[in-house]
Symmetry: D2
Subunit: 138 residues, 4 copies
Amino acid sequence: MTQTPPTEGVYQLRVRYVECDPMGVAHHSSYLPWMEIGRTELLRAVGASYAELESAGVFLVITKCALKYRRPIKYDDLVEIRTKVDNASKVKLNHSYEIVLVQRLGETGEQVCAVGETELACVGSDGKIQILPEWLRG
Amino acid sequence: MTQTPPTEGVYQLRVRYVECDPMGVAHHSSYLPWMEIGRTELLRAVGASYAELESAGVFLVITKCALKYRRPIKYDDLVEIRTKVDNASKVKLNHSYEIVLVQRLGETGEQVCAVGETELACVGSDGKIQILPEWLRG
Amino acid sequence: MTQTPPTEGVYQLRVRYVECDPMGVAHHSSYLPWMEIGRTELLRAVGASYAELESAGVFLVITKCALKYRRPIKYDDLVEIRTKVDNASKVKLNHSYEIVLVQRLGETGEQVCAVGETELACVGSDGKIQILPEWLRG
Amino acid sequence: MTQTPPTEGVYQLRVRYVECDPMGVAHHSSYLPWMEIGRTELLRAVGASYAELESAGVFLVITKCALKYRRPIKYDDLVEIRTKVDNASKVKLNHSYEIVLVQRLGETGEQVCAVGETELACVGSDGKIQILPEWLRG
């Protein structure tokens, strides 16, 4: 792979009923799987899938995450996960995320509803830290 | 193991906020993990843990499930999962379940809110059907 | 609405990492939210959203579900939820579902991995059974 | 209520199969519901339930969360959620958490596997920020 891999990606998803809580909004824990999909799809845009990575014995484990929730996201909202590689060292991969409402029944205009960050480390199938594959570092 | 293993068990759990949906009640998919806990704890009462079973290369996979929902279960309800082994053949294990409300803020008396059934098959680490360990058959 | 609403629909989704369990396959409880999406998108094809229904005080609650699991579904599989209205009376709505693997890394051909059924009842915001809106009955 | 409410609490839970992912460990998003239970049970120790709060039109919404994952937590592990009120102002409530492995098959000794923080704001049933009930501020 001689091309520089993309360091930004956008993924749209519709908020599921099961992801919402009695307040009628997406439960705050639902955002983490969305961010996971965001970085997985960014990987897919590089031409690789995380499933293939795991088959090759390369596992990315999360070591840190942080989220700020600004506005509630509701059931059936169409949201965009905007994922960016912030930093890629030999052993760590940092992403940042914007969770953006792009379509809600009876409303117009888009809104950044939450922002987040994650840090990933690379481990082998033995669970030990290993160096990230070079192409993943961009 | 010369003792006859128990074929019935009771497990109490409190309904989590994340398990409830915008109607303010436990989402219907939440019941399946509860039933899974019910049969796992029944196994533990036999003196084994499902985690140990898996370590020994014995996996129980679900092949069927069915549920009837009679009354809503709410956030913070205390419910009892009453699990019973209905049938245990060489290759299949059938359980039935009652999901019983035992404590709700401001109410008295218990109520069967849902009933369910599952069928499990035994597979090896290669994913192929294998005969259930004898002690599991009761 | 004078058109006959569609009684069958297809929805594609990619299996999420969070939906899979230590066996490396989609947890059996993950299928229920997929089926929920299947019937929701079928509703959307009629020109209505379930979110709108709830705003209008019409709630569809699940009274029964059943699933048969034939083949495991894995992380990152592309699956199709094929939803069909089987029966629509004044107070009940029955759907059946096929969960079909349509794309897996390194495999070709599609496979029906699971089949399911649900029964829904219609309740008002007071939680009492009410008659289904006529256009929903087809 | 004239007593000073407790500002620390401990809650034990067993890691569910459904909470674990294909790496065989608790998915990183599972920790947020555990922390939610931690602060809910701390509230219950004060003599109130979050369910009652919501009935009274007081909703606590999460505005921030952060987690550091140090060691993997496995299926069937017994973990302790140690929750502490760090700060309680008129409008914000800050908690910190330790997620501690207290029992794992074949291991001895306890280990802090993750640490976390959350910030909550108080809103009314109209979704508008309101002042926290005084007894909640400690």
